[in-house]
Symmetry: C3
Amino acid sequence: MEEQTQTATETADEGHVATSKKTIIVFSGDLDKMMAAFIIANGAAAMGDEVTMFFTFWGLNALRRPEKVQVKKPKSTLQAMFGRMMPRGPNRLGLSKMNFAGMGAPLMKKVMRDNNVMSIDELIATAKEQEIKLVACTMSMDVMGLREEELIDGLEFAGVGSYLAEADEANVNLFI
Amino acid sequence: MEEQTQTATETADEGHVATSKKTIIVFSGDLDKMMAAFIIANGAAAMGDEVTMFFTFWGLNALRRPEKVQVKKPKSTLQAMFGRMMPRGPNRLGLSKMNFAGMGAPLMKKVMRDNNVMSIDELIATAKEQEIKLVACTMSMDVMGLREEELIDGLEFAGVGSYLAEADEANVNLFI
Amino acid sequence: MEEQTQTATETADEGHVATSKKTIIVFSGDLDKMMAAFIIANGAAAMGDEVTMFFTFWGLNALRRPEKVQVKKPKSTLQAMFGRMMPRGPNRLGLSKMNFAGMGAPLMKKVMRDNNVMSIDELIATAKEQEIKLVACTMSMDVMGLREEELIDGLEFAGVGSYLAEADEANVNLFI
């Protein structure tokens, strides 16, 4: 029987396929995991892949503007409390290990800078330049009371159905 | 050369393929990660996917019955200790962040209820209704001394070989 | 229209395809997650899969030699501090839950030994015997100041590009 096939996943004997797609769910709000997610995403985009990152739950904190934003639709007491307690933006995220009540993150940032690793701000800027699709999970936004105006520019807003449709087209799907 | 192919992963130009399959390893016993796992699983099942969730290590705690169960085969001292200290059922799980010694989970549940997000109990019930396969990892059960009679009804019991066979057939495989 | 295809991911009706490939990013340095990663990897290798594990960030600690190693290239103060504070080797890793300031890991090890589960040392030895490719992330090594001579034998050293090339060829890619 004759076998003729050409799929996005069969790259072994033909090198990297430029059209292959990657998705990453960014659930964790830890600086170290966030950096890993962006390093993988930027690497894939640099190799010509289409990449979509879905930010959900604590991961959304990386997309918050650093300043306090006056929101149009009022928040519930609990949502306002979550909003105050959760870190505003990537520079306030802690580490998943050796956080030492917040002391770990600046040390990790310094040692990364010393080694010419991109900062989280640069990683996010590069992701945007490379047209990585950054999607904020609308259900998580509703729960935590985060509004579009509190998040950085250039995001898309969608739910789990949109994620699944993209994951079906991708050949690498990670949950971080 | 003629190219003719039709695979589960090539869905870009033909929409969602109803027969595609998803697997999720649920390792974490955190309420927030558990909810994410069930939301993804239920979403995929609603779109017609076959979904298998493998509960291992702390993830097994979500499948425990809330009441204390008299087990047939006696547990070792350590297993009995693990059994007492680990949360019994999804309603006793904590959060991966902002847990505040257990205070975070009820607040998160309230804010989710306020926003009409399904509770973890409803998510599990929906998963069963949608015939998502819920598999308890037998090796983890042995280690932690959890017996079948301590877990909820409707589970399958299997090991890593079974997981791998299913993952091979799936186009999205997540570890949560 | 005639459909003829044979891909690594279409295994439903023909059993496990021996040539299929798996990749696992091992980011976490928790003993329990490390064991899960090796159990999955060893299971896949036993079924004939090609498996690559990429150790990055805290995951690198599992590959450290247990003894203090005199390094050739001097470390910065911060790198030396990270080196002293991070666990040296798999036997000093803690648990992701119920760690109890380090007390949890020995109890978990004992209960695993009681149930004839392989120790982390045995899992790593088996991985090597089965020719699982163990790759240390060079960027993480630079950041944390970990040198090749501080890590166990038999490793490869590579970056994110190498990971992505392998993931493109694999049908299961996990982030643990």
